[in-house]
Structures are given as structure tokens and as C-alpha cells.
Assembly symmetry: C2
Homo-oligomer: 443 residues x 2
């Protein structure tokens, strides 16, 4: 067994993401330690005002206003303050003190990324930022590592939840832009000042980060062409849908050749666009995000999930914390492949699933009740019963038949109970045959 040494984690900021990160670090402390091969100790949370009311689980004595002292002596510093300063100065202090740094600060990366990465490389520290783009969706690591041997040609991303939520409401519920934005604000998807979202500034920062990483080329946020969604009308959205398209605010990063100058380069832009309703991005609803990547060898790939939210974004931050901690312990993925959890592997008899069973039964009164009772008696609860439309003859009249087809959907049932039910059905005098038994998943 590896001997644990506690790694000291400092947290800067206790907003919606920061509070979740602190809570999870404390709640899942033992599980994280087992995964890392070392203990993790949250040594403090730097905030502007320790007395501000906040709804958190972590002990208030962890709060401090002295971020600089907190950073000194920490192995890992997690910056979730947002904004350019003092975030930039504190991250530089942390890197220079030898700490690895984790940040979700897309504005800072879009503005001062090159400086931060250069300092990190000089001092041999790492800067992680999985949460800066796409919230919980792993997109930074796949681009940086998994596609490191490939050549990214193009990225189409839905990277702002507020605008996707609003456009989706217009498309699916016929809301006007104004009303859709009001609903987004009411539900907490939009900030009090939604300019960064609806103006496309947030998406442009993310496009710059994605393009820089994908093309190994500095693409600052102000080099990203930007249009927001304010000009999009309900009429456009409705007409688009009729024509087989969906309107989305896309972040588009691509390699291309300037048709005028012939120069080969890269481009990043954010604007509303029509995409075919069959495109995988067209099915990204609500405040979800998705990044569609086209690479030379890999072909098209898509990464989909929650693009924002405190606990969702905390998942990405914590993944970075574990990566950084593993690097401190063994200089690699640590005990990533270990089977420390060693949970029992349960047999199929432990599984309960829903089923859909198709039966041909005698078509007479009382049969349905009898079948339902048979399920009930074997511990399988029926959720839905549908009788198939009888086949029709050439004149369009239902054919005379002494048989009817039933499609029965069950609640979750065990394999054993279901098998017993099917066995009983096949010997029942009112059942001609059991024609299909299929499990139902993904509900």
C-alpha cells in the first residue's frame, strides 16, 4: 500500500462553483485519496468578505481574505474568483511558488493565457483549465491529449448555455427572443447583465481558447469575429425549422485559406447560424453545450453535456485537482488504473430493468384483466398496455380475427420475475404466443 502524504489545496473564490468544489473535496475526501494515492487537504478558501452570507457545507474557519498567504505552501491552487485581477497576479504567484494551478477563468485565459502558460512551463508547473470551456464536458483534455497525434480541421461548438436555452425555447415553444431571455433570467440561466452571453462575448472567449489549443496557434479573444443573438427573430427560427434547419449560436474554429491572399491560416468566429436539423448539434437542447470536432484521421467527434452550473463545473475542476495531485504523487496518472474501490461485481439477477413484451392473445372480454393479473402475480408491475390496431382488409375494414396483439410495458422488474412471467404467459390458455421480449433502457 502506498504511504499517503497530504497534498495541500488552496481555493480562491467561494461562488457557486467554488462552494461546490470545497464541499466535494471534503465530502469525498477518502474516495479522492484512494484514487490519487495521497490525501487531499483543503487548507483554506480565499474570499473578499469572510462574513458574507453563503450557503455552504464546508467549515467557515477555512475562509480567509489573505489569498497570498494561503497560496504559499500549497501544492495545488484552484482559482475560481473570475475576472482578470487579482486572479492573474495570484495565479502567477502560485505558479512561481511551484504549485500547480487549476482555473475555470475563460476571460483570464483568453487575455493572459500565453503569459500564464509560459510561466508554468518555465517553473515546471502545470496549469489546468478543463472547466473553462464546456462546463462539465471533457473537451480540453481530449483536444490537448487524445487528438494530439491528429490534425483538427474544424470545430463547431455550442458553448454558451444561456443563448442555446433561449434559441431552443424559441424553436420548441415559439417564444419570442425577448420572452425567451426573460425566462432564462428567471430560471437563473442568464446573468443579471446578460450582455456577455447574448452578445457572444463569452462564446468568443471560449472559441479563442479552443482554437488556440486545436491549432497550436495563439488566437486571442479579440481576434474572434463575434455576433450575438439579439438580432435573431422568432420568424427566422420558425422559417428555419420549416426549411429543415435549426438556428444555433455557434463558435466556429477552422483551418482555411484566404481566397484573396492565398494565405493558409486559422479563423475563429461566433455568430448565429442555421444548421441542418439532422446535424448532431441540432439535437442539443436547453442550456446544454456540445463541441463537434472534425479531425483529419479521427473524422467527426462530438462531446456533449452540461455547459454550466455550479456542481457540473465543479466536476471538471475536481478532475483537474485529481490530475494535478496524481502528478505530484507519481509524476503520471497515479493510481488511475487501480481497482482500489474493489466493489462486488453483481450478477445479472441483481439487475432490474423495464421490459416491453409483445403477445398475441385470444380476443375476448376479460383477457386483458387476466394478463394483467398474471404479471402482478409474478411480481412484475405493468406500466402501459397497448392493443395493436387490427389488420385491415382490402376494403379498409378490420379483419375478423379471434386474436389481438398486446404490447405491454413494465416498470423495473428483475430478470427472474420477468422470466417467470414469460414462462407463465407461454402456458396460458388465452395466450397464442409471446412474440417479443425486449429490455428498455435510457428512460
Amino acid at each position: 500500500m502506498i504511504e499517503y502524504r497530504n497534498l495541500r489545496v488552496a481555493l480562491l473564490g467561494a461562488g457557486s462553483v467554488g462552494a461546490q468544489v470545497a464541499d466535494q473535496l471534503l465530502t469525498h475526501r477518502d474516495e479522492l485519496a484512494a484514487r490519487i494515492g495521497a490525501g487531499i487537504e483543503l487548507v483554506g478558501v480565499a474570499v473578499r468578505d469572510v462574513d458574507a452570507p453563503r450557503d455552504t457545507v464546508f467549515p467557515r474557519e477555512l475562509l480567509t481574505t489573505d489569498a497570498e498567504s494561503l497560496i504559499l505552501g500549497s501544492d495545488i491552487v484552484v482559482e475560481l474568483m473570475g475576472g482578470l485581477e487579482p486572479a492573474r497576479t495570484l495565479i502567477l504567484q502560485a505558479l512561481n511558488s511551484g504549485a500547480d494551478v487549476i482555473t475555470a477563468n475563460k476571460a483570464l485565459l483568453a487575455t493572459h493565457g500565453p503569459e500564464l502558460f509560459e510561466v508554468a512551463e518555465q517553473v515546471g508547473a502545470q496549469l489546468y483549465y478543463e472547466a473553462a470551456v464546456g462546463g462539465a464536458i471533457p473537451i480540453i483534455r481530449p483536444l490537448r491529449d487524445s487528438l494530439a497525434g491528429d490534425r483538427v480541421e474544424r470545430i463547431l461548438g455550442i458553448v454558451n448555455g444561456t443563448t442555446n436555452f433561449s434559441l431552443d425555447l424559441m424553436d420548441t415553444r415559439g417564444e419570442t427572443m425577448e420572452h425567451a431571455l426573460a425566462i432564462a433570467t428567471e430560471l437563473g440561466y442568464a446573468e443579471a447583465d446578460p450582455t456577455a452571453d447574448i452578445g457572444g462575448y463569452d462564446a468568443a472567449q471560449k472559441a479563442g481558447i479552443l482554437a488556440s489549443l486545436a491549432f497550436h496557434t495563439l488566437v486571442p479573444a479579440d481576434a474572434v469575429y463575434r455576433e450575438g443573438i439579439t438580432e435573431v427573430t422568432l420568424e427566422q427560427v420558425v422559417a428555419a425549422r420549416k426549411a429543415g434547419y435549426v438556428v444555433k449560436l455557434l463558435a466556429i474554429c477552422e483551418r482555411l485559406t484566404d481566397p484573396v491572399t492565398g494565405i493558409e491560416g486559422v479563423s475563429a468566429r461566433v455568430h448565429p447560424a442555421l444548421i441542418p436539423d439532422t446535424h448532431p448539434l441540432a439535437a442539443v437542447h436547453g442550456a446544454n453545450n456540445a463541441v463537434f470536432v472534425e479531425a483529419e484521421a479521427a473524422g467527426p467527434l462530438m462531446f456533449y453535456g452540461a455547459g454550466a452550473g455550479g456542481i457540473q463545473t465543479a466536476s471538471a475542476v475536481l478532475g483537474d485537482v485529481v490530475s494535478a495531485a496524481r502528478r505530484h504523487v507519481v509524476g503520471g496518472p497515479g493510481v488511475a488504473e487501480s481497482t482500489h474501490a474493489d466493489l462486488p461485481v453483481l450478477p445479472m439477477t441483481a439487475v432490474t430493468t423495464r421490459y416491453q413484451i409483445t403477445l398475441v392473445v385470444v380476443d375476448e372480454p376479460g383477457v386483458l384483466a387476466g394478463i394483467a393479473a398474471l404479471f402482478q402475480n409474478h411480481g412484475v408491475s405493468v406500466e402501459t398496455v397497448q392493443q395493436s390496431v387490427a389488420s385491415r382488409d382490402a376494403a379498409g375494414q378490420p379483419e375478423a380475427s379471434d386474436a389481438a396483439t398486446l404490447v405491454i410495458g413494465t416498470h423495473a422488474a428483475s430478470e427472474a420475475d420477468l422470466a417467470a412471467t414469460v414462462a407463465a404467459l407461454t402456458t396460458s390458455s388465452v395466450v397464442h404466443s409471446v412474440t417479443s421480449v425486449l429490455r428498455v433502457e435510457g428512460l
Copy 2:
């Protein structure tokens, strides 16, 4: 500038994936070196028969039958032979010689994974296997690293391309299972002996790998409950679609509690299942793969892409090669964040996109030809023109109107040409108004 030292890469196997890996290592040598911060040298390709005919770009003098000598002195060994032996012995030799190992061998990992990972940890080497599950789709790294701070609750995966291709043909084209499998074989999606695919064995090996990684618990392939697709009938697929479902072969890994014993554990299973047609997995067509992950904090995530194919799988292998090489160079992600490519960032004027333009025009003969000529004269090529159905009055008759609405789709055009076109349209005497100008992406 970092001083390069060449890293020696040995390749075991030159099948469809191996040949692509060798070709890409040679073709993209300089670009890969820049990304890694060190040169990469393919020192040899071990095969059973150096004289066998093969369709490859890399020089035949790299071929050798002496895998053991090739491994000695290599920094990175890429195993793409498949099968259990001699793959297992050679990987152990490579690890023990201090090399990092990359493999796509799911059968080997499902059978001897724990032994291989234990040896790797003992000697401080790394074993990478992104290509073993989901072909080109980054799924191993996200599960291992990005979700390392989260708690995976369930995985639903379409992880076998042959079976998904066949079931999709049944669903979308009404083919029988027999005919669908014949087409899959003809198109090269199915092996000569498709038992591993259609029997669910391939998917079960992948389910074991995913479950082991997600739950930090050894789940051998033979602990995975398995049903293939051979019993699935066209009637079931058609009836499922009518009822709002799609039939997919799913690999399902989940945490659960045995309802009989109360024991908490994990379960992995592979079987055909109905999923709602609105589920993201329902839209995974053809030979594509997708892995849907439900994590406690992150919520639902999906990873989608090509599940097989020589060049696609080579992308995942090469990503692992770069990761391993970066670790050799600096013990971390290397120059991942560098902007070595330093491509020009092109302005929006370099971008060409398709457009959809909606116009209200005077409804008289010859207007359409005039509008088309106007586009043509400004260098914008018209692809489609649709005239909207005129609005109808209360009696259902088209309303008398001197105006018609045109929706014009263009071929790719530059911003400047399009802007000039729109300017000309707005001053045209036959145009009442330009009501919408939107870019079209994702075609």
C-alpha cells in the same frame, strides 16, 4: 527553444491500424516533433512475415520478425498485433525494459489487464489504451482523468460498429437481420467470422474495460452478462420505432444494489435494448459509436464518433504516442499549450460560408430571373430558391397579394460578396424588403 532528442518508437503489427500509425508517424514527423518537444523515430515494425503483400507507405526495410530485439532500446512500444499471445509477453518485456506501452488490444486488456497495469506501476511505466474502446472517440482519458473527481453512476454505450450498422439498416431501410449483416460484411464492417461482433463478445470486452475504469473495480469480460443481436427481428425493430423506440445493442455499466441481498456493487451487461427515440444514443447511425456517461456531479455526458476503421483508430493510438512522448520529455503534458504552429489568424473576410436569404419581392413574371442575375453579378452563386406558400384567407384560398416571399440558399460565398449582394437587393426596385440573412453551417 527546447533541444530535441529523438524518442524511439517500436510498432508491433502492421494491419489496418498499424500501417496507418506507421504512415502517419512518418508523414507528420515534423508536426508531431513540434507538439512533443522532441523528435519521434519509428525504429521498426514487427510482423509475422516481412514478405507478405501489404499496402503501406512506410519503407519495407523497417519490417522485422524479431519483435524482442526491436523492443529493447525503444522508449515507446505500440502493440497492434491483437490476440493474447505473443502480445502479452511482448508488452511485459517492453514495460520491464522501461518503455511506455500503447495498445488497442481490448481482448488482452479484458483478460490480462490487471497483470499489465500492476507491472507498469511497479516499473514506473505507463500503459495507454485510448484506442481499445470506441475507436477514435476519446473515452478512456475522460473517464480516467476528467471524471476522476466525480462519481460515475452509469454508462450506456454503443461500442460495436458492426452491430449498430446492422440494426440501423433494419431501422432505416427495413432490411432483415440476415440481409443487413450481409451488407455489413460486403462493406467491410463485419469480419469474415462476425461472431465476436454479433454475439456481443467484442462489446462485452469493452464493457469490462469501461466498468473497471469507471468504478475502480476489476470487472473481467467474463463477468459481463452478454446477449448478441442474432435474435432481433425486423418485426421487433419496426414495432419499436412505431412505439417511439429504437433497438440498439447496448453496453451498460452501472452501480446498483442487489434487491435480494442488499449488496451494493457494480454490474456490466451487453444486450439489445429499446431506447426512446429522443435519447441522444438513438441518433447514433451507421457504424458510429457513442458512450453516454451519467456522473453524480457532471450529469449526463456523451462522447460520439467513429468506433472503428484503420485511420480513425490510428488517431487514438497517435494521441497516446504523443502523450507518452511528452511524459518522456518533461514528465507532463509537454509543450501541449505551446503555440509552435503559429499560423496566421485570418480575418472574417477570409471566411466563405453558405447563406440563406429571405426576401419579399414584387410578384410578377421575370422577377426571379432578375434576382438570380443580381446574385450572379455580385459573385454569389445561388444553390436553391424556394417561393413561400402564399398566406391563405379564412376560406382557405390564397390571399390576393402583389408580393411573394423568396428563400434563397447560396453556395459558399465571401462576407464581402454577400454584403454587396444584400446592399444591391435592398435598393432593387423589385425587392420590397430583405427580411433575413443567416449563415448556414454544418453541411
